[in-house]
Symmetry: C3
Subunit: 317 residues, 3 copies
């Protein structure tokens, strides 16, 4: 297994099976610290640089909180408007990174442009963590999600994943790549214009993932062990609500998971994950069912980032 020390976390395409389990193992070590709301000194003298060109709450704060719980500190920017790198100059990623690398010991980057963190990693002398790159990937989110599945279901192998939402989204890309490393099946459901790309499907096939597409959640929910959701309304990362003309609360039944549907057709031990925020594809009354695991997922978001920061900053090996 490759060492994680000093390594970039850019994509799950190159993640190997045993690497997932190594990450989960370190996360298990971190979990009690987060659960008991303690801190420690593992990364005492380390600084995390947050380079968020797009607003984020969960991803940014989970990384920041993880760093603080590990005794480290944080600097950076949380909006392209807060940085001259995002203004008139439209500075190259290289120029930005050749500055940011001096401000800390690792860089976590969210960018509206696919591949931006990969470009950053080319130039940075410190590890770069991809916190979501346009329509690209969102590896730390999906590591969180699979860690949650593994904890809540005791395993990943042998489970059938039902992925519902805009299949062009970065979390979907990452979970597809991740599942190729496990003995899993996947079903994808999305509106036609949000279908999986041919390129991505070819990659999954090449890696022998068994998957198929379906049209309506009702037809397949009975098969699902893990229901993995994203909104289908307004998923364009580059547009605001008004620009996209989208309206809250107009998700077609095909892409909705309701309490009633789960009760009627869901497996008794099926779990529902959603990285949130949600629109109406997942009504709030699902929260109280035995199926919901998205609050655990939110909690594990901190645990997983503690594990990743520890691994890349070389403290857990």
């Amino acid at each position: 297994m490759r060492s994680f020390q000093g390594r970039d976390i850019l994509s799950l395409k190159d993640f190997e099976r045993e690497e997932f389990f190594r990450v989960f193992q370190v996360a298990d070590q971190m979990e009690p610290i987060a659960r008991d709301r303690r801190s420690c000194d593992l990364l005492k003298n380390k600084i995390l640089v947050t380079a968020f060109y797009q607003p984020s709450t969960r991803t940014r704060l989970a990384h920041e909180s993880a760093m603080l719980r590990l005794g480290g500190s944080v600097t950076g920017f949380s909006d392209a408007k807060m940085t001259r790198a995002g203004d008139f100059y439209q500075e190259s990623i290289k120029d930005t990174v050749k500055m940011l690398e001096y401000y800390g010991d690792a860089i976590v980057m969210r960018h509206f442009q696919q591949g931006a963190p990969h470009e950053a990693a080319k130039w940075a002398s410190v590890p770069v963590i991809n916190a979501g790159d346009g329509w690209g990937e969102h590896p730390t989110q999906v590591l969180t999600d699979l860690y949650t599945v593994n904890k809540e279901r005791g395993r990943i192998d042998g489970l059938k994943f039902l992925c519902i939402g805009d299949m062009r989204m970065r979390t979907m890309h990452s979970i597809g790549y991740a599942l190729t490393q496990f003995d899993c099946e996947a079903i994808f459901i999305s509106p036609k214009e949000m279908s999986p790309t041919e390129e991505w499907k070819a990659e999954l096939k090449a890696k022998n993932l068994r998957f198929r597409e379906a049209e309506h959640v009702e037809q397949v929910i009975h098969e699902a062990d893990v229901i993995y959701m994203e909104p289908v309304v307004q998923a364009d990362y580059t547009k605001s609500r008004q620009e996209s003309g989208g309206e809250k609360g107009t998700t077609p039944a095909n892409y909705k998971v309701t309490r009633e549907l789960l009760a009627a057709k869901g497996k008794s031990d099926a779990i529902v994950l959603h990285s949130l925020p949600r629109m109406d594809e997942l009504p709030a009354d699902v929260d109280a069912t035995k199926h919901s695991r998205y609050w655990q997922e939110a909690f594990n978001g901190v645990v997983m980032r503690m594990a990743l920061l520890n691994l890349v900053l070389g403290k857990s090996e």
Copy 2:
């Protein structure tokens, strides 16, 4: 007296007399640390989450500085635009809080919507501090203010408060509720369209606060021990300057406290409080008079937040 440990600070409506004095007592313990610009380790492993849906300087930074002086750390957002919780998704307070609670040990929230922090407190497993909720309340500011009165005048009982400004504002609401716990009188002055609401006056009457309304500061300033001010120009929290059409510097004399007026008619030991920022209702030449106490008030803003954070995070009991 109820314990403060793990408690939310949402409103002064439910604050009892002895609780005010308990808070002041802890503030007195904190004051030397802030005065000497020292730090300590009281909240060493604690993280404060700032959830500011509206810009703020004083309230946000006073909380952050308090947390840092206590050895803790801070994460969060300072503008709704910096969080996806405030964007297209218009995420529910519940969903936001079920995430934020994992990122730290207490949440301090400013929101444009009245009652938002109360809703947050319903769902959060950690204490929620209301840093101003729309037209609702601003309890930590008013605790700061009364602490300042108590320090500067040696007591609160027996003092007459002259409250000038938009009486529908959150600080006014909170100070009214607070004064019901003391042996005080109050006089309210505001433009007609900014008059106290009937509901609020009924609450104050039910709690036996002696108060009356007046029209012009000149008529009543001679009675005032404490002059408590807010702007009457542009107090709408939801509008920017251009939207409101307001102009700086157009406060009618009825609502202004000038150096000349204080000299001519003010009590010799009257003190002036203003949570700032100010428009022209309080000209800068009042700063150098014996009456001004708003810089002390600003300083006490840090002291009070140190006390509150200590109390709710359970370190002072």
Copy 3:
């Protein structure tokens, strides 16, 4: 030499020769900490307040990172929109500072208005560091730059500086003032509408700096030991790209330093500095030449701020 303890860093106009070297000396002590990405406890209990009324990446993060490496912490705002001080109220600098001084032990301020940090320093009981004031000065950047020259060339005396760019910009003002304290010559090149002001030139003459103006970099580059660059496209701090109508990549050859030009006419040991971000006045292929020193300059940005914070907070004397 005046002590740096408690001192404001507002301008290089009043900086004396020996003070430059004192600052460089402390920077040399800080350098290994930054280079080895270590932290220390020199400013353990200190808080830096960042008051940025304009977005900044390099200057803000370099200060924040410096403070963190020294064991201190940071609070503040990074955009005028994040503070009510910048909103409708247009609060006076005095009112803002009489609050900010309670939140930390030093204030670093960037402001769109020339002289704002000087006004702040009048009222603050803690040191104020000017992080760029409109068309005024940018002392910490230029201290970084001269520290870089001194390290990379072994001296400052005897060197000829070629300054290219908008000569009305704050970095240009500061470097002019700084060079009066050394045995240097300067050549200034800028478009006519961005020429040095008569007032500034008179100040430099009064302090006996030898300087002249030129029209095209090709005519004088063979003389230059240090090439000090700023963009000439869109330098107006108050306008966005669209407002200014500027286009990226339209810098006239007069103000460009290319790899070819350096190879053909540059001194073999000439070094190029640029505080970045850049437009096309400095093409990316210069980065790999022996002349480029702007990455070192970026790194030294942290080192210099560590030195300055140490000096004004009284830990290095």
